[in-house]
Structures are given as structure tokens and as C-alpha cells.
């Protein structure tokens, strides 16, 4: 039954990330296609940091499955805004769909949490702006 649920609850056909907002507090917004399974209670968001080196925007180590931490306390209904990111860090996110924690679940015996969606990664901008260059003396009098 669990396997049927996992295959049936194809959540988040495509997870994508809205670019980080240019505010003093960095944040990333997770958007995704809704699950096609009726009756779900909401979604959970998970995040894993890059534990390797970041070269050209790519982390040298793909986060293992156990590196993901759940971000939300209770299932959310639509997009999720992650406000706990740190400047300069690269993260990978994924979401799951959740059936209600009651006997009926989503119906048809589907209970619990779905397989994770596809992964979405992004690097949070660094705090400091780039240094000015080509400083020159234009005129002395």
C-alpha cells in the first residue's frame, strides 16, 4: 500500500526557486506544481547545505539523503519562503506532499508523506558588494 501511495502521490512535478530577494534578510522562495493526489494536507520543505566547495556556482558534493532538514513545523499549502538562509551559502531544496494524519489519509489508503520532489539548488548572494575598480586621478590642480 505504501508503494502505491508513493507512486500515486507524485508531488511537485517541477520544483523551482525564485531568485533571492535583494533585501537585508536573504530568503529563497520555493514554488512547485501541486500534487495531483486529492485530499492532501499540504507540503513539507526540506533543505540541505553544500558541505563541499562552491565552484562556479556548483557544489562539489551532492547532499546525501540524510543531509536534508525539514524547514516547516506544519504542512504548508502553497509556495514556501525560506528565510533562514545564510549569505554566500549554497543550498539544495526539495518538497514532499503530506496526507492528513488520520486513518483515511488522502483516501484510497494513501497515508503519510510522498517521495521527495526533484531538487532545486541556489547560492545565496554574498553580503558585500564588489569592490570598485580602475580608480584613477582625473584631474589635479
Amino acid at each position: 500500500m505504501k508503494n502505491i501511495f508513493r507512486s500515486a502521490l507524485l508531488v511537485a512535478g517541477f520544483l523551482f526557486l525564485i531568485p533571492f530577494t535583494a533585501s537585508a534578510q536573504h530568503q529563497g522562495t520555493l514554488n512547485f506544481n501541486a500534487s495531483t493526489t486529492p485530499g492532501i494536507a499540504g507540503y513539507n520543505a526540506y533543505r540541505a547545505p553544500c558541505t563541499g566547495t562552491i565552484t562556479a556556482g556548483v557544489c562539489s558534493i551532492v547532499p546525501p539523503a540524510n543531509a536534508y532538514s525539514k524547514l516547516n513545523a506544519t504542512p504548508f499549502q502553497a509556495s514556501y519562503v525560506d528565510t533562514t538562509v545564510l549569505a554566500g551559502q549554497r543550498y539544495t531544496w526539495r518538497v514532499t506532499a503530506v496526507c492528513p494524519a488520520v486513518a483515511a489519509g488522502c483516501g484510497n489508503g494513501i497515508v503519510g508523506e510522498s517521495d521527495p520532489s526533484n531538487l532545486a539548488s541556489a547560492t545565496v548572494p554574498t553580503d558585500q558588494p564588489n569592490a570598485p575598480t580602475n580608480l584613477t586621478i582625473i584631474n589635479v590642480q
Binding site: 533585501s23 537585508a24 549569505a87 548572494p125 554574498t126 553580503d127 558585500q128 558588494p129 564588489n130 569592490a131 570598485p132 575598480t133 580602475n134 580608480l135 584613477t136 586621478i137 582625473i138 584631474n139 589635479v140 590642480q141
Partner: protein, 113 residues
């Protein structure tokens, strides 16, 4: 000719504009240094200046454009300049350092500093 009517006025304007230079040939304009740089991001710029290469201090806190005119220099001195970018996320590294040599006083004008 209409120009003849304006000639006294034109001569007066020329006289007013050039009188100080005509009768103070040794006087130099106030010293200043104009610097410019490439804007690579940030909200504004911080200008550093010092009389030693490795001892620069801030003389302008948030310059909006990538150009700055320093009119607080003295003749006969050497100044070092650098700039940094500021944003709500902090301050960038400093730019390269440039050197400005202010010409010493010349002529019979006021003495040096």
C-alpha cells in the same frame, strides 16, 4: 549698429570676470583632486584618503556617483586615495590606491602651507 549699445556692458562684464586674474597674476586656484572609478555594484561609495600609502581614512561616507572632487587638499603635498562600495549588506574591499601630487605654490602669491 546695435552692438555699439552693448559694448560698455560687455566691457564691464569682461572687466568684472577677469579683474582678479589681471591684477593677481601669481594667484593659483584653490587646489583640488578629482578621482573617478568603475562602479561594480553597491548603493554608494566611500572615499579614503591619506598622506601615507597604508594609512587611509574615510573622508566621504556615501558618494552616490563614481566620481569625487576633493577640495580639502593642500599644495605641495602627496595624497593617496582608495574607494569602496557600500550596500545594505556591508562594505566591499577597497579599490586600488592612486597617488595625487598637488603642485606647490608658484609665483608671488600667498605662501605655502
Amino acid at each position: 549698429m546695435k552692438y555699439r549699445n552693448w559694448l560698455p556692458f560687455i566691457l564691464f562684464v569682461v572687466w568684472v570676470l577677469f579683474w582678479p586674474k589681471m591684477y593677481s597674476p601669481g594667484q593659483q586656484p584653490s587646489p583640488s583632486v578629482t578621482i573617478g572609478w568603475t562602479d561594480n555594484g553597491g548603493d554608494c561609495f566611500q572615499v579614503y584618503r591619506g598622506t601615507q600609502f597604508d594609512q587611509l581614512s574615510v573622508i566621504a561616507g556615501c558618494v552616490p556617483e563614481p566620481v569625487f572632487i576633493d577640495t580639502s587638499v593642500q599644495r605641495g603635498r602627496v595624497y593617496y586615495y582608495a574607494v569602496s562600495a557600500l550596500s545594505e549588506f556591508g562594505e566591499s574591499d577597497k579599490s586600488n590606491v592612486v597617488t595625487a601630487v598637488i603642485p606647490p605654490p608658484t609665483g608671488t602669491g600667498a605662501g605655502g602651507c
